[in-house]
């Protein structure tokens, strides 16, 4: 009951903020269109695949779009903490688990819609370009992105808990940039190799993008390893989010 009430409030707060539509739903679609147009403008080099191919771009953009969910989760948590609203709730029978679930569920629901819309947009763009995704693979990709969803919402809750409302968006922007560069959204990190690939491999973003691409290809054998790594990161981040939020709740009461 408490979780559902708090979840409902957070969904309403998010849906009534027009900026969230622009960032969470509009931007991924615009990026897909822009990158496809850029891809079409790049001259064909025989034997070299184009870098922004829609089959590669759509899953990567879906993961990238989750960073905006992280941003909004972070803004919501830090905003609540800086207002007296959370103080009121601290005096209510709500427990730390209720807050975590109440923040995670609404952003999870929005993320789910975001994933579906991004894949649908990718499919439409693919069809316009006389290509198509395997529908079964695309459908399977949606639940398979659950670990990435948890990962980014968890990061958002952590930053929203430890940072104030002014600092939180700035730090999240750094994570968004890091995801784009270190996750291989715009480039194929596997072809780069070296120290750069090692650095990327130590972070969850690269694995998240990699398994999303394998999932859409239907290459479930190669998908397993990055999926497991990303799931481990997601579980770790979520546990840290719960601990950090609980500790902050306690320290606020000192």
């Amino acid at each position: 009951m408490r979780v559902m009430a708090f979840t409902s409030r957070n969904i309403k707060e998010l849906l009534r903020d027009p900026i969230s539509y622009v960032f969470c739903l509009g931007l991924p679609i615009v990026m897909l269109i822009v990158m496809t147009l850029i891809n079409d403008s790049i001259p064909v080099v025989p034997g070299t695949p184009k870098i922004f191919n829609i089959e590669k771009l759509t899953p990567a953009m879906t993961v990238f779009a989750l960073t905006f969910i992280m941003l909004f989760a972070c803004i919501r948590v830090s905003g609540d903490r800086s207002s007296a609203f959370l103080t009121r709730l601290y005096a209510s029978p709500m427990k730390s688990g209720d807050y975590i679930m109440g923040y995670t569920l609404p952003f999870g629901i929005i993320a789910l819609f975001q994933i579906i819309i991004t894949y649908t947009s990718g499919e439409i763009i693919a069809l316009i370009n006389s290509k198509s995704f395997d529908i079964i693979n695309a459908l399977l990709s949606v639940p398979l992105l659950f670990p990435s969803m948890v990962l980014f919402i968890g990061i958002g809750i952590i930053f929203g808990t430890i940072l104030n409302a002014n600092a939180a968006p700035g730090v999240c922007s750094a994570v968004i940039t890091a995801t784009a560069i270190l996750g291989g959204i715009w480039m194929d990190i596997d072809t780069m190799g070296g120290a750069w690939k090692t650095v990327c491999g130590c972070l969850p973003f690269y694995h998240s993008v990699k398994y999303a691409r394998f999932a859409l290809e239907g290459n479930f054998t190669d998908m397993l390893n990055p999926l497991l790594i990303c799931s481990a990161f997601a579980a770790l981040i979520f546990v840290i989010a719960v601990l950090v939020f609980s500790m902050k709740m306690k320290s606020d009461k000192r």
């Binding site: 707060e13 009461k253 000192r254």
Partner: protein
């Protein structure tokens, strides 16, 4: 009279600074009790300890027979609080804010509907019921904040500076609301508006430097300080006699 709150040597320290210094109080059910003091006297810290928002350094307090140190989870459904800052969800309407708090406190659907009807009528929130909280004026937001504290039918309500920053009209309207609640529930009100405490409170505790300097009705405080006005009595009690 039954005791609603019993405070024994309640103390709060922030490092070496003593914010609340071994206060002792007994507040009765149905009483409108005022905590009066200048800024930094320890009023808000006392409220924060009693509502579980701040840990107790030393001493003890019982709310309706439950210890604030060990039984806070049992106490929470029985009390509610309206904090010094307006605590509303800005993008939710007035009705949604009330429903949110009612649901968090586990009220059932039919009770919520009835309670909202009662609260909206008694606090005259009808005209703004469908308005988003962030579009309301400060006075209306404060009124909503109090309504959110009352919606759960608490046995004890803590109102921390409920009229702070309100204009005279809005403040008088809130006084009317509080007067209507008198006797029905126990109200702990902190304020530094002397006339407010005198007009509303059954008894007043005057706090200064974390201690309770005087306790009684407004009349008793004036008599003990040998002053005709509550303002002069207050100045005398807190040690700033002129």
């Amino acid at each position: 009279m039954k005791t609603a709150i019993k405070i024994n040597d309640l103390t709060k320290k922030f490092g070496n600074k003593i914010a609340v210094d071994k206060i002792n109080l007994e507040i009765y059910e149905g009483e409108l009790f005022g905590l009066l003091g200048i800024n930094g006297a320890g009023k808000t810290t006392t409220i924060r300890m009693l509502t579980g928002l701040s840990a107790v350094t030393d001493g003890e307090a019982e709310i309706l027979g439950h210890s604030i140190k060990t039984d806070m989870q049992e106490i929470k459904p029985l009390i509610n609080v309206s904090t010094q800052e307006t605590a509303v969800a800005g993008n939710l309407t007035v009705r949604e804010n009330l429903e949110l708090i009612a649901n968090i406190y586990g009220m059932n659907k039919s009770d919520i509907k009835g309670s909202i009807g009662e609260i909206v009528t008694s606090l005259e929130l009808d005209e703004v019921i469908s308005q988003r909280a962030k579009t309301l004026s400060g006075g209306w937001q404060r009124r909503l904040s109090i309504a959110m504290a009352l919606i759960t039918s608490p046995k004890i309500i803590f109102l921390d500076e409920p009229t702070l920053g309100l204009d005279v009209i809005a403040r008088r309207e809130l006084w009317k609301v509080l007067e209507n609640l008198k006797g029905k529930i126990t109200i702990i009100l902190t304020t530094h508006y002397l006339e407010e405490a005198e007009a509303l409170c059954d008894r007043i505790a005057v706090m200064a430097k974390g201690k309770i300097k005087a306790l009684g009705t407004a009349k008793e405080l004036k008599k003990s300080a040998d002053k005709d006005s509550i303002e002069d009595a207050f100045v005398e009690i807190v040690g700033g006699g002129v």
